[in-house]
Subunit: 270 residues, 3 copies
């Protein structure tokens, strides 16, 4: 598969999201719930945030994807994530995991390793330190930021993906996405994404939206990150700083078309 | 009561909110807390978010209205909502209920039905599917969106209001509000309200603010929805998309005057 | 210490935040988590929100400051705040407390008094009613707003600081900050800060960021409030109302320089 084909499939998936409006069930952290719901709406999907053990399995029945983001984790929420995840696996609903702050505390690391062990995860997206910490490749995470990334993100991504039998994505100046066999780089994005909280979490919500309509999870992940990055580039043209950029990002993604995505995606098969 | 009288009372209620600054106690969902607090401030009231069983009854003592929004419900929160609701009933503080996602899972449906059964609710505001599901009129809810609305929102609103002895409001392109005897349509609003999360929840917070100063809950609800819709129309003139619209909505409501509301409210007695 | 020296140290501390990027561990309320994380990023520090008893003590090990904000308190969170606070004291990490709504309910008042009794708090920042209620000086709090402030904020601040062996800060049109011996007024700010939820909580996050790099907590607090107020003044020039002001505030703080702060801080030693 070459870059041109991926761009074409990205555009088709984007159109499908807006046609089908898949439900994206998100069990995510308090800090970013509002913005991951909104970015899901802007791309054209339908978000629902539901975390009660009393209802997560019922909600999954309608979902096109499940996003797990233990950024403000606690035991009850972790348990609900596992219940939802098992039901998603049973029903064939793809799970996208955002291991926020893995590596920063033992509790975060162990919780995310438990998810990887007990659930069949379709895609894991993190920063260099988080993926490094979970895959045993090194990197240092302080708080929720990757302070010392891994030396070779592409190699770590490939190894992580192979080890987990998942798509793995390390996002950064260049996003690197691999399923262990095929690896793709995405160069869309803007520096202001690094200045706001929750922009990684929004990327993960985007991946959930694309995974709900595109069965090849590598293509779904690449498409989502190119789409998100491209919208951020257009937003930066309208903004004066991170605050106005955040509002402009919603506007730009809302107005972005599949044709824009096909023309503007900067993907490279590695 | 004709449209002209309602517009006049809407303006008077709006002025009263800004004069008295009533406390609006909101036990609401994680996704929208920030924005329902802000919209409450913009209309001129004072929001407080408090959900601990240890304090909700004490907080109600100062409240002009109680807003219950189980959008990210779990048992502890539901219990706190019931404690707060009973105290509100005891003190005569009006309760406004937003049954987010009722119909989507049994847990959501049953929780909202329990509220309707055990509490004296002044106003229930939802989308067509939510009100349809709770009142037994049909409609389909997936996640928190009404996917298939009820065929005749006005008839369903009247029947729901009569059945619950509450004001019922279905918001949509036309909002329909009824107390079972009188029914009013509101045509203010803008399509971008449908593109952001929590805009229905903000409408409910607006209703709480008006219900704190206007004893006729039908008039309060109509006034709130007209005020909110009118602010959204003005905001859209300043915005380039949903992101800038959200910021502009706060600006426009903050600057809106009772005179603007009397002149711009589009209400029709049905 | 005169105003000129404080302005110079404020600029130096601001530069240090951007150089060191200290981790600011915040256990805060649901309403404002997103915006306190973002304001922390804009000033140049690194926020982390973590509240699980399973990890708070581990997270503190990397933190430059701990911010406790029980604005949507419940017993589990209060317990986590105490665990984190004790660890912070053990490690010498400064604690900044925002006693949201103290005085409004017995639960809020007693929880904040317990923090003051059981922890060594570096800085307490609140509105006039909150500091008045906690220090026994009077003032009335309804919800989370100070309705009747104390008659003489400067005197109350001095007495509170002396009583708690902490820096105390009452923010308002003029911010008054004291460590019981030295007292400083800060006149930066803009009226629109009073029209949005969480602006006091953001001020507290700013204080945490400065306290992570400046050991004199009086100077840190004055610097933070001057920096925040100055950014708000510049933001107001770009905004049309509270909504656009909020976005502009992030922009203006992001672009603000230590030189701007030294030139624009309006501080007066009282």
């Amino acid at each position: 598969m070459q870059g041109e084909e991926i761009r074409s499939r990205a555009a088709a998936a984007f159109a499908l999201i807006r046609e089908r409006r898949p439900l994206i069930h998100q069990i995510t952290n308090y800090v970013v719930m509002n913005q991951t719901a909104n970015i899901t709406l802007m791309v054209g999907a339908s978000p629902v945030m539901a975390h009660a053990k009393e209802e997560v399995a019922d909600m999954i029945g309608f979902a096109g994807a499940l996003v797990l983001n233990p950024g403000t984790l606690e035991p009850d929420w972790v348990e609900a994530m596992l219940i939802a995840g098992r039901k998603a696996n049973e029903l064939g609903v793809p799970i996208v995991l955002d291991p926020v702050g893995a590596g920063a505390t033992p509790y975060r690391t162990e919780t995310n390793l438990a998810f990887l062990r007990e659930l069949d995860i379709a895609v894991v997206r993190g920063n260099s330190g988080e993926i490094g910490a979970l895959s045993g490749a090194g990197g240092q995470v302080i708080g929720v930021d990757s302070v010392t990334g891994v030396a070779d993100p592409a190699a770590v991504t490939v190894a992580a993906a192979a080890g987990w039998s998942s798509v793995a994505a390390i996002t950064g100046a260049r996003d690197v996405i691999s399923n262990g066999e095929r690896t793709v780089g995405v160069d869309n994005g803007h520096i202001w994404l690094t200045t706001l909280t929750g922009t990684g979490c929004m990327a993960t919500a985007m991946i959930g939206s694309f995974a709900a309509v595109e069965e090849d999870h590598l293509v779904a992940t690449v498409s989502a990150l190119a789409c998100y990055g491209l919208a951020s580039e257009k937003a930066a043209e309208e903004a004066k700083g991170p605050g106005t950029f955040k509002a402009a990002l919603y506007d730009s993604l809302y107005h972005l078309t599949p044709e824009d995505l096909e023309a503007g995606a900067r993907v490279e098969v590695l």
